[in-house]
């Protein structure tokens, strides 16, 4: 079994529950919500993710490479006299570099987001839980991962009960 899933109706409850659970020493927890809940990240004590960093990196690479390519192709590889303009017409070379800066940033960001979130993942134990369907609708969930032992499970179950969730369901592998 993967763990226990508690269902909540609103974001405050969930945030409280998360804080409680961590206070109780449940390290391995997950929170689910149908919309981004302010402060939930902090409550979960998650490290800030690095999507911005990857986007910056993408931007630099995209712009830099394009600008370099323009220089290489017009100055080094095949210099051609175009309308009497200097081979390295640096101002005229900015636009493509700019566009590539933006494009690569976004592509890098999208990848960072998906990979960071381990997506795509079309199969997940949670999907088997009937109640979890509403995690993308109107309900919020707290998942306690518990070791596969009756004792642990019962303890966790008892704890969840104290949070007065709408429901508690078992999540099996």
């Amino acid at each position: 079994m993967l763990g226990l899933l508690a269902e909540f109706a609103d974001a405050e409850q969930l945030r409280g529950a998360v804080l409680r659970a961590r206070h109780e020493g449940y390290a391995d927890i997950e929170a689910y919500s149908p919309y981004p809940v302010d402060g939930l990240t902090e409550a979960m004590g998650l490290r800030r993710a690095h999507v911005p960093f990857w986007m910056l990196l993408g931007a630099i690479c995209g712009g830099g490479f394009t600008y370099w390519l323009e220089w290489y192709s017009t100055v080094v590889n095949y210099p051609i006299n175009v309308g009497g303009r200097p081979p390295f017409s640096w101002p005229a070379f900015l636009p493509p570099a700019l566009e590539m800066t933006l494009l690569w940033a976004v592509l890098a960001g999208a990848l960072a987001m998906l990979i960071g979130n381990r997506l795509p993942r079309v199969h997940h134990p949670l999907f088997a839980v009937r109640a979890f369907d509403r995690a993308t609708g109107d309900r919020l969930f707290l998942l306690l991962r518990v070791a596969n032992s009756n004792l642990e499970a019962r303890r966790a179950h008892a704890f969840l009960k104290t949070l007065s969730p709408l429901s508690i369901s078992e999540v099996s592998e």
Partner: protein
């Protein structure tokens, strides 16, 4: 469209052609056989057995498959298809295969010789150049000589002997002739008539003479649809003689409706002479007055131009003669000079008198003999004879009866027509002519021919006459056969074939040899034998072939001034009716005259099926593919007509529908129509366009009708012009000044340029290559004849796009000649300006091309790389001069083998979707470059000559290395008249212009 017409393969014939390798006759060659695209089709057409299927062309393939595979990027695979090499059986290594060769030969226009050098690429004639050694050419040609190449390869040419509608052979005809001949031998040739056009060929003339001697009762008639040359005159007895003008010597020239710059016999030479007398740098410029009813190239060049109805010109001449004190010039009753006319007359008279012995008065072919007489009288009075004008023996060969007119037979077409009607004609042989189409309506030749049992027609096309003929015989093209002709000054020259007759045609002299001797003799032998007196041995013969002229055969020019010619058949030449119009005008000014003129682009019809000429914008109107009725702005106002409105022209009971064109500078009461259109049997190109103006012509006054009435029909028809706006809008594109101004301040024409040729620029100068190519165009020398346009078309494989595409604004000419009008619409100043690519050093087109398809090379050429072009057309949008042309559709005909064979192998054939433009004839530059580089020497100045430069009769275009201060072009650009078009845009054009200088008469200042 024509590969079906290619005759079936005949191995023996082919072998015969191969065996006969005399002179340049043989036309298959190694390179040709190995050459890819161009030849495959050719080979296929001529020798189906030998030909393999033309390989699927890469770009053609892409057109269909490409798009679907574009994303896969596979279309970039440009592996050429597998092709084959066919070796010769017998080596013929006289010249290195693959090198073009030039042969001197002779083309004729209206019978007169035009010397030409014809380029032969692997045995295929591909380009005509002028022959510098020929007096009528001096290295240049007119538009027709250029178009001769297309005519040679025209797939619509007659391709076999036809008996009625049945395909026959020359043998069949020979047999038939023997039968006819037997009868003529008995009856002395009674009923045998020959009809020719103007001819100067000594050989043919001799043969005709022989025919007349052999058959005393046979008759020879001459009919020239295109109008006579100025160099033909008459003496007292009305006997023909040749007139020789020296436009270079004349200080003051007056033309009476004489368009000498486009004279059929010597226009090229006259242009050259005229312009060489107008060099402002020398300070000495002749002054040209033009009195004409309808604007002509000559009128465009005139310093003063007076629009005057054709019928009134004789009166004008009388008035002038009066002022010049010429004796008994007859009653000037008809012509009532207006005050303007009077001023004009006085000024001109004064000017003429002021230049003793150095003026020249010329009357046009459409003017009556009396006008010529007066012109002559004035020349005599002014002492011009012997200085600017001289006389000599006649150059045209004429039938005996023309020299000694028998009763109702003066050798004219009219005489023939009447003879036909009364059944006197049993056999009519038409030697290269089309009387059924190009003769006056009143003769009703087609109808008269019904009375002729045997009509034999020799012609390039199976035309209106050929289809009526009992026997149609394919004529060998001038480039396919031996022949000879004489130039305007009498010098004889030989025409040698560059290629065996494509369709087994025979020349006129070969046919005549059959008529005379009963069997065909070799054309070469005939010409050789004829010229034996001048060319005694092989060396002389070869020399003549090489130079293209038979030395010292020019006429001796005498200054013997003949007495006044009398109007034939009357003792008094004064009382003539040429000013009926004046009489009628004085009564009501509704009276109109209708003028007939050969079309400036397609002549009187012999060039109707020539796409290049059809699409060549006609001088001034810039019309293509149509003939119109030119009317004056006044007339247009009076009848509320606009360009393209169709009117009905009524004259002599005939009527005709024609679209009008408002012609600034047209005489108020003159309406001009052009011949050569409304053909029904011209071919795919010439059929069914325009209207046939001959329908209103009469044989007694073939060039004008005095009783014209016009009625608006309310219809309108689309006309395709290449220029829609003739007002320069105050932009100094064409700059001009007057001689006096120029002498006072040479900068006067170009002074107002703010920055001069090179405005400041932020960009560093590129390091120059070994050469810096540039061009200079002298607007003072350009007469607007458009020979450059068509020479370029021929040299650079420029496609013909057709009327519809021209109408959509998609013509392809790389060098266009713009025309502008200035001043009032009645008497405007007319300007012309040739516009090739400016080869801007800071080219706007290059900047905006996303794929480097148009860039600069190290020698300053703005090159267009066809195979790189993707066709964004941004370059054209950004070209201020709009000299770029785009293949909006597949214009180049890749199906017709004849056209494949005609093309210049040194120039890529552009496919659809590709931008193209003038390249300064890059192929010529490269060829010369390679030749020079092989010898590790510099290119000499003048070693590279662009097609437009070579053809220009007045040397208006100069091309060369502008980094060499001694080069022709550098010297030209050093002139104070030098300026660059739209220089203020900072494009730094390599093509610059020399301002035009006029030489107006101060006495008439306020007029121009």
């Amino acid at each position: 469209m024509s590969s079906s017409k290619v005759p079936p393969f005949d191995l023996d014939a082919a072998r015969a052609q191969l065996r006969d390798t005399r002179g340049p006759r043989y036309w298959r060659s190694l390179e040709e056989l190995a050459d890819g695209e161009g030849f495959q089709a050719w080979l296929k057409a001529q020798f189906p057995q030998l030909a393999q299927d033309a390989p699927l062309d890469r770009r053609g393939f892409l057109k269909f498959i490409g798009a679907s595979m574009a994303l896969a990027g596979l279309t970039a695979c440009s592996h050429p298809p597998q092709t084959e090499l066919v070796p010769y059986v017998h080596g013929q290594d006289e010249w290195a295969t693959g090198l073009p060769r030039y042969f001197a030969t002779t083309l004729t226009r209206n019978g007169y010789a035009q010397g030409a050098l014809v380029r032969s690429d692997e045995g295929r004639p591909t380009k005509v150049e002028g022959n510098p050694q020929h007096p009528a050419s001096l290295g240049a040609t007119d538009i027709f000589a250029q178009a001769a190449i297309l005519q040679l390869w025209d797939p619509d040419r007659s391709q076999s002997v036809m008996r009625g509608d049945i395909v026959a052979t020359w043998e069949d005809f020979a047999a038939e002739w023997l039968v006819l001949r037997a009868r003529f031998d008995r009856n002395g040739g009674a009923g045998l008539r020959v009809l020719t056009r103007t001819l100067t060929s000594p050989t043919l003339a001799a043969q005709l003479e022989a025919l007349q001697n052999k058959y005393p009762d046979a008759r020879w008639h001459v009919h020239e649809p295109g109008g006579a040359s100025l160099s033909r005159g008459m003496d007292a007895s009305g006997l023909p003689r040749s007139v020789h003008y020296r436009f270079d010597r004349a200080k003051v020239i007056l033309t009476l409706d004489a368009d000498f710059l486009s004279d059929p016999a010597a226009g090229v030479r006259y242009s050259h002479d005229f312009i060489s007398g107008r060099d402002p740098e020398r300070g000495a410029m002749s002054r040209l007055y033009a009195v004409e009813p309808t604007p002509s190239v000559t009128g465009m060049m005139a310093d003063h131009r007076l629009p005057l109805e054709s019928a009134r010109i004789h009166g004008f001449a009388q008035a002038l003669a009066q002022r010049l004190g010429v004796a008994n010039i007859g009653s000037t009753g008809g012509f009532v000079p207006s005050s303007d006319h009077a001023r004009w007359l006085d000024a001109v008279a004064a000017d003429l008198r002021s230049t003793q012995n150095a003026s020249l008065i010329v009357a046009g072919f459409a003017q009556p003999p009396e006008a010529h007489a007066l012109a002559h009288a004035m020349n005599v009075a002014l002492g011009n004879v012997g200085n600017t004008i001289g006389f000599g023996a006649p150059i045209e060969a004429l039938p005996a009866q023309a020299l000694a007119p028998k009763a109702n037979d003066d050798g004219s077409l009219r005489a023939l027509a009447s003879a036909m009607r009364v059944g006197l004609v049993d056999t009519l042989l038409v030697l290269d002519g089309n009387p059924v189409y190009d003769t006056s309506a009143d003769l009703a030749i087609a109808d008269a021919l019904k009375h002729v049992p045997h009509l034999l027609h020799l012609g390039l096309y199976r035309d209106e006459t050929g289809t009526l003929a009992e026997w149609h015989l394919p004529l060998a093209h001038a480039l396919e056969a031996w022949g000879d002709a004489r130039a305007f000054d009498g010098s004889a020259s030989i025409a040698q074939p560059l290629i065996a007759p494509l369709y087994g045609g025979k020349s006129a002299i070969e046919l005549m040899s059959l008529l005379l001797e009963g069997n065909f003799s070799d054309g070469r032998a005939l010409v050789r034998q004829q010229s034996a007196s001048q060319l005694r041995d092989d060396d002389a013969w070869n020399a003549a072939l090489k130079s293209g002229v038979i030395s010292n055969t020019a006429m001796t020019v005498t200054s013997v001034s003949p007495p006044f010619p009398r109007k034939r058949g009357s003792s008094d030449f004064h009382a003539i009716e040429s000013n009926i119009l004046d009489a009628r005008l004085s009564r009501n000014d509704k009276a109109l005259e209708l003028l007939f003129r050969p079309d400036p682009a397609i002549g009187a019809g012999e060039w109707s099926n020539n796409g290049w000429l059809q699409e060549l914008p006609k001088p001034l109107t810039q019309l293509t593919w149509d003939n119109v009725a030119l009317i004056s702005p006044d007339l247009a106002k009076r009848y509320k007509l606009n360009n393209g409105d169709v009117v009905e022209l009524r004259s002599h009971g005939g009527k005709l529908h024609a679209p009008v064109w408002i012609m600034p500078g047209q005489a108020t009461h003159s309406v001009t129509v052009h011949l050569g259109y409304g053909r029904t049997r011209a071919g795919h190109i010439g059929d069914g366009i325009g209207y046939n103006a001959n329908a209103l012509r009469t044989s007694d006054s073939p060039w004008q009708a005095d009783d014209l009435q016009i009625v608006a029909t309310g219809e309108n028809c689309e006309l395709a012009t290449t220029q829609h706006h003739f007002n320069m809008e105050g932009r100094d594109l064409v700059r001009e000044s007057t001689l006096s101004e120029y002498l006072r301040d040479p900068q006067s024409a170009v002074a107002h340029d703010k920055y001069g040729e090179k405005p400041p620029s932020l960009y560093p100068d590129y390091l120059k290559g070994e050469y810096a190519w540039g061009m200079s165009i002298d607007l003072n020398a350009c007469i607007g004849c458009k020979a450059c346009t068509i020479a370029c078309q021929s040299e650079n494989n420029i496609p013909v796009v057709g009327k519809d595409q021209v109408h959509r604004g998609r013509e392809m000419h790389w060098i266009r000649v713009d025309h502008y009008y200035e001043g009032d619409a009645e008497t405007p100043t007319m300007l012309s300006q040739p516009v090739p690519c400016m080869m801007c050093e800071h080219a706007p087109c290059e900047l905006v091309c996303p794929v480097d398809a148009t860039v600069h090379d190290s020698e300053g050429l703005n090159v267009q790389v066809y195979n790189r072009c993707v066709g964004t057309r941004f370059c054209s949008n950004n070209c201020p001069y709009k000299v770029r042309r785009f293949n909006f559709m597949q214009y180049a005909d890749k199906q017709t083998p004849q056209y494949e064979a005609m093309r210049n192998p040194e120039v890529s054939v552009r496919r659809r979707g590709i931008m193209e433009k003038c390249t300064y004839c890059i192929q010529r530059i490269e060829t010369a470059h390679i030749a020079a580089d092989k010898e590790s020497r510099r290119l000499r100045d003048g070693e590279v000559v662009t097609a437009c430069q070579a053809v220009c009769p007045t040397r208006a275009i100069r091309f060369g290395d502008i980094s060499d201060a001694q080069s022709q072009v550098s010297k030209a650009k050093a002139s104070p008249r030098n300026y660059a078009m739209l220089a203020e845009l900072g494009t730094r054009p390599r093509t610059t212009y020399l301002a035009r200088i006029r030489n107006p008469n101060p006495a008439l200042k306020d007029e121009t």
